[in-house]
Symmetry: C2
Subunit: 309 residues, 2 copies
């Protein structure tokens, strides 16, 4: 089984407006909301494709109830730790005139020591209940105030002790701190990697991250695909043969979902990267994050090119 942990879960709300005009008052034409946060999207993609997954997180208040209800409605198995605080929201305003999106992301409330220990305990329990089968742990997204500095590292260690392969997709200080736990794979995008290493070249950046303790580093390069920099220095790349227009939101989460699945089944790098590019491209064709179409994946898989530097 794959277990995803979203430290900073959210309710993602989308507002359609005719046209976004700063300093004006807008009538919202349509409101949509769904459970969000990067690891929730990862769990959603896995669930949509029929893979066994459990989404973990911390939720509270009225908005937390909406997150629970949405996960239940979407059939995504979940174990959520109760918090005293109100779960955060994100609001994305879509201007129908030009299709452009403007996002407002609430920071989220501080989580307490009790909630953090509840999350760690929930992870241990879910992995123990899984009967010791070799699973995969995915930790993904930003971390809230009150999350321990080494929180991702602790989660990774707990998962490794339970026999899991481990994958972390975060950025900034949370990404660097996660390395101490020894995750099998980290997946920064090119910008996030440059931010923490100061290096613009993805391969050089990945190697700098390995100097800080990273193992395999998978760098997502947007339309240029993926670069997997392995611990032995080998670099494997994959990309679609032709470009694809669409909505890049959630493409990175689909990459993480595919890699988690690849780790679970012991895929070779070529196969793992092929799936990751195909799932990611299928996500680009969807209007919202966390969804891919199996038919798109099958078709796009044929258009992936894999090569070594």
């Amino acid at each position: 089984m794959i277990v995803t942990v979203t430290p900073n879960i959210a309710l993602d709300v989308t507002y359609d407006v005719e046209r976004l005009v700063p300093h004006a008052s807008h009538r919202v034409a349509a409101v949509r909301s769904m459970a969000g946060g990067k690891a929730v999207n990862v769990a959603s993609v896995l669930s949509v494709l029929g893979h066994e997954v459990t989404a973990l997180g911390i939720v509270g208040g009225a908005t937390g109830d909406l997150v629970r209800a949405d996960l239940a409605a979407r059939g995504i198995p979940h174990v959520l730790v109760d918090a005293d605080h109100e779960t955060r929201r994100t609001v994305t305003v879509v201007s129908l005139a030009d299709g452009e999106a403007t996002a407002f992301n609430e920071p989220g409330p501080a989580i307490g020591r009790h909630e953090w220990s509840g999350l760690l305990e929930a992870l241990r329990r879910v992995l123990a209940d899984d009967g010791g089968s070799a699973g995969v742990f995915v930790g993904s997204g930003s971390v809230p105030v009150g999350f321990p500095g080494d929180g991702y590292a602790q989660l990774v260690r707990a998962a490794r002790e339970a026999g899991c392969r481990t994958l972390v997709d975060s950025s900034g200080a949370a990404l660097v701190a996660a390395l101490a736990g020894g995750p099998d794979v980290v997946k920064p995008n090119a910008r996030e990697l440059a931010e923490v290493t100061g290096l613009d070249d993805p391969v050089a950046g990945a190697k700098a991250l390995q100097d800080k303790g990273a193992r395999d580093v998978l760098v997502s390069l947007g339309p240029d695909g993926l670069a997997l920099v392995r611990t032995d220095g080998e670099v494997v790349r994959a990309a679609l043969r032709a470009g694809l227009a669409g909505n890049p939101t959630g493409a990175g989460d689909a990459v993480v979902a595919a890699v988690a699945h690849g780790l679970e089944v012991g895929a070779a790098p070529e196969a793992l990267l092929t799936e990751a590019v195909a799932w990611s491209a299928a996500a680009v064709l969807q209007p919202v994050a966390g969804v891919v179409d199996q038919t798109d994946v099958a078709r796009l898989r044929e258009q992936v090119r894999v090569w070594r530097d």
Copy 2:
């Protein structure tokens, strides 16, 4: 007692961002939320100034719970009808760089026949429980989908049958339809009045509204104060002697609160307009709607000029 009815209650959420940039992703620095909707603001002003008031509305879901909790925390007595649907939100993004606000107003869900009849029944019950003392009814704000076309008129009739003076502050079709109920006062602003009459001059517009059945028409003119056009054609005006910088949001609701209070105590037009301008100016000095400072009201009352055309 004054009873306010907010057909389309909301949770008003404010997001502070560094600077609003269309098509960008924004980190929200601070999130505030409070119960909103025009008649809620009216009830809040009356409550803050120590007047007896009860706020009525329809709320549902998790957001409805937050509205209830906020009204309770602010000590505003309320009778809220339970709905199956989720109460709407408004999101106002404040750009800290320039202080400008950009608002996104959710339309709100459709209310059902059961919820509407519950609201009408709640109004009758609250007025009956008040022991037949001459009270004031205030209906204020937009109306949700599913609200009867003559909803405000029905509410006004129920209030008049209970011996209340009545006041409606709405716009468009809801304002015009309210007139059939015979409200003692309607309070459009100059723009709203022009929209329903096609006349730019406030006095001519007020008279056109009276031709459609209105009694006293109080037109709010922003910094130019108020014009009360009475059924006998008399026009009484009031304004501050000097301009005032601040936040106009909620100024109109403070006018309505003052007029409701004036109707309750049987104030003469001059006294009623003086209070209305003073409460409104005091509201301009506050960062949020629904609040005035008693000291500001006392000071500003001395700066109001009243005259007849």
